[in-house]
Every structure is written in structure tokens, then in C-alpha cells.
């Protein structure tokens, strides 16, 4: 089509968060002409919201820390569902990825001898998180952003143009990954500002679009988190795994309503904050599950001693993995021991002097002061669970980050699945972005280099993508009244929050699926006013497709997994079941990637299959004690 602008690049990265930028840097350094497309302005990605730190076993705070310990913690946190190879690569490479940031100008907080300071976090045996106060994500994004600028400055010195080898297309949205002859040939996108469509032809596309939180009502995620990459992968024919595992961060703000869900960093607990119910009791001591019994303090006194003497005391149960803490808070509130606004109390004011709080948790202090009129140095915060992260995502090859079944498609960061198993540890996200972002960029470059001929994007596909993107402007013609995309979005969020939320039941999830089907029919008629120039209603109408696809994956997989594990808690199956340990639920588009131009919206669009995961390598298993393994592994696995 003549009127859709086409450009040619070597590698296209969708998303400019930590993983996307790291991939772009790697691809560009491998000599690829690299384009980054992001929905927001450059440097605003959701990664800036990450507060606590980057987990990496550098051993600066405790010399006993090694990649093996980090690996072990990660597997425990994920309840042994993690892809062991990803967890291994992640633990091995994280320190290098952090150190590399320093050479690009990052300024982490320091130890007294001048090395990178590391802090405690839930589920990590040693202080492991490299951090900058409680704004580590901002530091990460800014460092990567500035590294990209420095590469552009290099290009400018050579070619005269900043954007010759590395260009950021900001405020643009990709609606389709294009394929030709089964291989990736580029992306179809629109410019949010002008509404113009364009195609970036490239043989390799790296998805780094983050998560899906905006399908839920109470979430710490920004509007960008509409599951775009998950949906793009599905539509391109790549499967998703582990979609039932959604992490509810235990501590989100609960009051006032307009900020409900905004994150309260885990560092509050890592630095000494405690959770109390309305009776003033530190209730977490009642919620230590069997698998963690030996590793957590049994008395408040022991827990308090741990902060100063971690070698001879056990950590307080406030630092259990996130899924445990979130469930505990949920149970306390349900039992009527919640705070006035339906949360519990998180208190640092009685634990640390005001000066220390302001120095170590500056942005929390600021956030509560400005948004809730609460001075956290003088009174407790009210917190409750908030949808925070999706463990599930595109199934990828652990070493190369290549998506299954679609040559040329790569995925890294939150959009990729497998790394975190059923539950992610705090701090493992930022390191995940860096480790696998780099690998995605590297292997995308390798893939392009090895390619003999580049598949051209086909006009037919571009036409179809354009027609799909324009449909909201002619919604009335599709029969029935046009639907308001904002209303649809709110209903979707409500349904997911109520029916596929932190605690799940079979009937509710079945109900969710039927509501999703009804919403899908109505979303087909989502209509918008005005024109294409910076039209948020239109943007939302297009995002609805992705949120509906992803929500269906979550609901279907959650309905099928009849156990409770990590970020998936079933009221009707409250126990972890070892027989599910090595089973992944795989979501694929039911009508195939190319057959479903415009299928009946009432039909479910996702086909779910079970897949057994590869056995954990022997030497990695040997990192655990046998009596721990018996709690997780099937008898069959143990006998191997």
C-alpha cells in the first residue's frame, strides 16, 4: 500500500523499558540498525516504578552470597515451576549486568568501602539488591536511556545523524507483528500523536512490552500495561505459558480511592517495617507455610535481632515471598481484622527514627505525604494487595529468548514467561530485564546476521492490519450501537478483579469466561469520536483487543490448574500439588495465527494445552537438601 510509510531496519524492539532498551543497546552494539518503538515518551517506561532494587549476587554485603544461592532462592520463590535454565542464566549473569550499568554512569548507593550497597528483600537469603534509595527503576531507565543517547552521539560523529543506527519511535503503538512465509517480516504501528500508520520492516522483532496489569481494577501498573506483547505474540502464532500466575503485591496503597493500588515498596519491610492488624498484632507469624518453617523467625524478638545479626537469627516473616504475604493480608481483612479502609497497617514509624526513614525511603515518604496526607515517620500506612506482575508470558528459548514457533520473534522481560515460575521474588524483575534483554538483543542480531534473505512485509497483511486499526471509527456499521471503550475497560477490570483475582474459585472463573465472551462481542463494536490525532479513546479501543485476549488466557489457565501455587491461589484447591510441579499450561490462538481475520467474537479464542517441563539438571538439584525437594518434586522426579 502506497500510503503506509515503510522503513527498513535490522532489529525492531517493541517497548522501551529496561528489557527493550537493554536489547536495543546489545543489538546496536552488534552492528544492527535498531529501532525501538514505545507507547510513551522515551524514559517514561513502567520500569521507573520499580523501587526496591536489582537482585544480583555480587556478595558486597554478605560474602557468602553466590549465584547458586540466588538460583536456589529464585526456585523456592517460584515454587519450583521456574524454567531452571532461565533461573540459572539469570543468577549467573545478573552481577555482570549490574556492574556494566556503572560503566554507563549509574550511581548506586554505596557500601562504606565504596562498592555497590545491597539490601534485604523478601525471599532472598542474603542482602542482594543493588539499589538507589527507593528509586532504583528510575536509575536503571535513566542509565539505559543515557547509554542509548551516548551510542547515538557516537553514530552522529560518524554519520552525521543521531538516528542512523539507533532510533526511538516514541509514542507509537504496534498493533501487529507481520509475518511472511512463517517468519517475522516487521511490525505494523501507528503514531499516537498524528494517528498515521507505518510499517517497520525487519527480520527480527524483540517484544519487551511488559505486563498485563491494566486488565485488573486494583493494580500498581500504568496504562501501558495492556498485555500488548502477549497479544502480539499470540496473534503471530507464538504460545504463552504460565498465564494463571499473576502476582499480587502485598502492599499497595488502599486510600484514598484514586490512588488505590499504587505500590508501597517492599523495601519498607526489608528495612524493618512490620505488618499489623487492627488488634496491633504482627500477624505474619501465624502465616508461615510449612515449606518455609525452618527459615523464618518464630518470635518477634528473633525477627528483630535478624536485621543486625542475620547470621545467627532467622528473618522475620514479613519478608516471606510476596504471594504468602498477600494471601495473609487478604485473610486478615476477610476475618475482620483489617484497617479502616480495608487493608492492614504497615508501620515503620515505631521502628526507625524519622531521619532514617526519610533517607532510606524518600519516595515513600513523599508519596504518602502528597497523595494520602499521611506522614509515615509518625503513623502507620494502610496497605493491601494490588495486581503487580504477571509471571506468565511468551514461551521462549532460555538461552536465546527466541519465541517458540515464530522465527525472528524474541521476547524479554515481563512479557516473557518461565523465568519466575509461579511467583517472582522482589528484585528479580530488574535483573531479569537486563539479563534477558541483553540476550534477546544479542540473539536477534545473530539471527539477522545468519539470515540469507529478508522476508518482505506483504501488502495484504498491511491492509488487514490497517482495516483492523480503523474499525473503531466505523463501529456503528458493525450492527448494534457503538460501545464506549472506557466503559468496556472498566467492566473488564471489574470482572477480572472480582472473579480471577487473588483468591480464585471454579464457578467464579467460569463466570469470568462468560463475561469475557460478552465483552468480546461488545468490544467488537467499540466506537470512538473525533479523529486519529492523539485520540485516547481510539487508543483504548485498540488496546481492548489485547486485554481481552490476555484476560482469557489468565482465566482459562487459572480454571484448569487445580491447585494453589505461588501467584495462583484456589479456594477450592488450597494445597500445592506436586503433580502440577512440572506442568506448564500453554495458551495458543484457537483459530491459528492466520485463519482468524474476523472470527465470531462469542467464541473463545484461546486453546489451552498441558506441557511437561524439562527435568531440572542434576547439579542444580543438588543445591537443595533432599528433605526440601520432597516437598516440591513428584516421586517420579525424585527417583530419577
Amino acid at each position: 500500500m502506497a500510503h503506509v510509510d515503510r522503513q527498513t531496519w535490522d532489529v525492531v524492539v517493541v517497548g522501551a523499558g529496561g528489557a527493550g532498551l537493554r536489547a536495543a543497546i546489545e543489538a546496536r552494539e552488534a552492528g544492527m540498525r535498531t529501532a525501538v518503538i514505545c507507547k510513551s515518551l522515551f524514559g517514561k517506561a513502567h520500569t521507573v516504578m520499580a523501587e526496591g532494587g536489582i537482585a544480583a549476587s555480587m556478595g558486597n554485603a554478605n560474602e557468602h552470597d553466590t549465584w547458586q544461592v540466588h538460583f536456589r532462592d529464585t526456585l523456592r520463590g517460584g515454587k519450583f515451576l521456574n524454567h531452571w535454565r532461565m533461573a540459572e542464566l539469570h543468577a549467573r549473569e545478573a552481577p555482570d549486568r549490574v556492574w556494566e550499568l556503572e560503566t554507563w554512569g549509574a550511581l548506586f548507593d554505596r557500601t562504606p568501602d565504596g562498592r555497590i550497597s545491597q539490601r534485604n528483600f523478601g525471599g532472598h537469603e542474603y542482602p542482594r539488591l543493588a539499589h538507589v534509595g527507593d528509586r532504583t527503576g528510575l536509575e536503571l531507565i535513566r542509565t539505559l536511556q543515557q547509554k542509548i543517547v551516548s551510542l547515538q552521539q557516537e553514530d552522529q560523529r560518524v554519520s552525521g545523524s543521531y538516528e542512523e543506527g539507533l532510533k526511538v519511535f516514541q509514542e507509537c503503538t504496534v498493533t501487529r507483528v507481520l509475518k511472511t512465509g512463517g517468519k517475522v517480516s516487521g511490525v505494523f504501528a501507528y503514531d499516537r500523536e498524528s494517528g498515521r500508520f507505518f510499517v517497520l520492516e525487519a527480520p527480527a522483532v524483540v517484544l519487551a512490552t511488559g505486563g498485563i496489569g491494566k486488565s485488573f481494577k486494583v493494580t500498581s501498573n500504568s496504562w501501558e500495561y495492556t498485555g500488548d506483547g502477549h497479544a502480539l505474540a499470540l496473534l503471530a502464532g507464538a504460545p504463552l505459558i504460565n498465564m494463571e500466575f499473576v502476582q499480587f503485591h502485598p502492599t499497595g496503597m488502599v486510600w484514598p480511592p484514586s490512588v488505590k493500588g499504587i505500590l508501597v515498596t517492599e523495601s519498607v519491610r526489608g528495612d524493618g517495617g512490620v505488618l499489623r492488624n487492627s488488634d496491633g498484632k504482627r500477624f505474619m507469624f501465624d502465616y508461615v507455610p510449612d515449606v518455609f518453617k525452618e527459615k523464618y523467625a518464630e518470635t518477634e524478638a528473633e525477627g528483630d535481632r535478624w536485621y543486625d545479626d542475620p547470621d545467627r537469627n532467622r528473618r522475620p516473616p514479613e519478608l516471606l515471598p510476596r504471594d504468602e504475604v498477600a494471601r495473609a493480608i487478604n485473610a486478615e481483612v476477610k476475618a475482620g481484622r483489617g484497617s479502616p479502609h480495608g487493608g492492614v497497617f504497615l508501620d515503620v514509624s515505631t521502628r526507625m527514627p524519622a531521619e532514617v526513614i526519610k533517607r532510606r525511603l524518600p519516595s515513600m515518604h513523599h508519596q504518602f505525604k502528597e497523595l494520602a496526607d499521611v506522614d509515615i515517620t509518625a503513623e502507620p500506612m494502610e496497605v493491601g494487595p494490588t495486581c503487580h506482575y504477571v509471571m506468565g508470558g511468551v514461551e521462549v528459548d532460555p538461552d536465546t529468548a527466541a519465541a517458540t514457533g515464530v522465527p525472528g520473534l524474541f521476547a524479554a522481560g515481563e512479557v516473557a514467561g518461565g523465568m519466575h515460575g509461579s511467583n517472582r521474588l522482589g528484585g528479580n524483575s530488574l535483573s531479569d530485564l537486563l539479563v534477558f534483554g541483553r540476550r534477546a538483543g544479542l540473539y536477534a542480531a545473530e539471527y539477522v546476521t545468519a539470515l540469507h534473505a529478508r522476508p518482505p512485509a506483504e501488502a495484504r497483511d498491511i491492509d488487514a492490519a490497517e482495516a483492523e486499526a480503523l474499525r473503531p471509527f466505523s463501529a456503528e456499521e458493525t450492527g448494534g450501537p457503538a460501545e464506549n471503550p472506557y466503559a468496556l475497560h472498566q467492566e473488564l477490570q471489574q470482572a477480572m478483579n472480582d472473579l480471577v483475582g487473588i483468591i480464585r474459585r471454579e464457578e467464579e472463573m467460569a463466570e469470568a469466561l462468560s463475561r469475557l465472551a460478552a465483552l468480546r462481542v461488545r468490544a467488537h463494536r467499540a466506537g470512538v469520536e473525533g479523529h486519529r490525532q492523539y485520540n485516547p479513546g481510539w487508543h483504548l479501543a485498540l488496546d481492548l483487543r489485547n486485554m481481552l485476549l490476555v484476560s482469557e488466557c489468565v482465566a482459562r489457565a487459572a480454571l484448569t490448574r487445580t491447585e494453589s501455587r505461588g501467584g495462583h491461589t484456589r479456594d477450592d484447591y488450597p494445597e500445592m500439588d506436586r503433580r502440577w510441579r512440572n506442568v506448564n499450561l500453554v495458551c495458543e490462538l484457537a483459530d491459528g495465527p492466520d485463519g482468524g481475520g474476523d472470527p465470531d467474537p462469542a467464541r473463545g479464542r484461546i486453546r489451552l494445552t498441558r506441557r511437561e517441563t524439562p527435568p531440572i539438571r542434576r547439579d542444580l538439584l543438588e543445591l537443595f537438601e533432599q528433605d526440601e525437594l520432597v516437598k516440591y518434586l513428584t516421586d517420579e522426579e525424585l527417583s530419577r
Binding site: 510513551s40 515518551l41 517514561k44 554505596r110 485516547p536
Partner: protein
Amino acid sequence: MSERQAEQRPGGSYPAHFRVWRGDADGGELRDYEVEVHEGEVVLDIIHRLQATQAPDLAVRWNCKAGKCGSCSAEINGRPRLMCMTRMSVFTRAETVTVTPMRTFPVLRDLVTDVSFNYTKAREIPAFVPPADLGPGEYRMRQEDVNRSQEFRKCIECFLCQNTCHVVRDHEENKDAFAGPRFLMRIAELDMHPLDAAPALGLDRRRTAQDGHGLGYCNITKCCTEVCPEHIKITDNALIPLKERAADRKYDPLVWLGNKIRRRTE
């Protein structure tokens, strides 16, 4: 006004009067809206309610809604602010709340402006130069040596300082020569970085701040500091120290002489 106040609803909600600038590069106007406000809300919530109920195509840029990303910069009752960090409780219920786009950058549509000026300036600041003799993992820096630059790295790039700075706000023609507070602060950050090896490359950040990035345009009237949502002391801790450092290089004969002598003895 009193009528509206009388119209109190249960749950502390009330109808508020908003004036929002609607338009694009070809022109526009302040348009009036009546919109419901609930307890604890911020201006961005109200703008979203307008979008969802009355003006679905109202363009607004936003992201985290927690004051961390710096996307929702605008001017509220004439003051540059983040919409997500401006609580409705700072206004009286009878007050009209006027929301306009930032007035220093070209407008695109409604509350969205073209902030590419800032990205252009960012590219003109020479990047961090890693020391040649240190590999990854070998960096040793003391906390007291990184404190100053860390303060500047709190910047969320909301560009409110760039927007409020009269050097470019009131003088379009200065945009070429002046990098603005955010990027002069970036120079200060790098110049105070304990391991920046720019001097080894012959790059003098102090001199270029004055010669290439328009430090001299700053007349330290402190509006950048006043509007900074991160409460960074841009003027006192970045711009004035940078001016003093530039003075070391360019306007201080004693320092000049000292350097001359030291170079000779070395």
C-alpha cells in the same frame, strides 16, 4: 457558586467547575466543564473522568499516576505542576480549576505538547566517560562522593523546570542557545561524578556549560527549583555550583594562574 456548594452529595463528592484548554496547533480555547469530584482525588482523576464521560477524545499524556514518571505535566491555575500530584483538596470547592498544556512547548493537541526540545538538548550533552583503567565491577565510589549527583538523578524528566524557565518560556529565540535547567543540571551531575573521565578526553564540561549550553542565560531566579516535583534544589545545588565552576575556568585569574604554575611544575 454558593448554589454549587449547596449541592453537596453523600460520600464527600461534589461537582466542580473545570476549564480545560482544548485545541491544537491551529488554535483553541478554554472550555468549561462541570464534573464530579470525589474525596482524595487529584486533578488527573478529574481529567480522566472528563475523558470517560464527556470528552472521550480529550488528549492527555500520563503514565504512572504516582509522581514517578513525569508524564502528566501541565499548568493548573497557571502554575506548572504534575496533574497526578495535585490534589483537589488544595482548591476550594467553589474555585474554578483551569488546566492548560505547558506553555513553553509547541502544542500538539489539548493538554499534550511537543517536548522534543528536551530530547534534542539531551543529545547535545556529552555522555558519561568511563575511566579507561577500570573494568566493570572495579568501580569504587564513596557515598559522600556520589550524594550530589544522586540528587540530580532523582529527576523524573517531567520538564516542568524547562517549561517554567523564562529564558525559553518568554523567548522562543533562546531555545537554540540554552539547554535549560534540566540539562545544565545533567552537566553538573556529570561534572560531580567521582569517576567521570571527560577531562582525560580533553572535554571540559565547565567551559562547555558556559560556551555551548547557555549557562550564562540563567539568572538564577529559581523558578525551576520552585516547580520541581522531586524537590531537587536545582538552582542552589546544580546551577550555582556550575556557575562557580565555570567561573573557576573562565573568570578567575587566580585559579588560572595556579593551574598555569601547577602545569609547569608537573
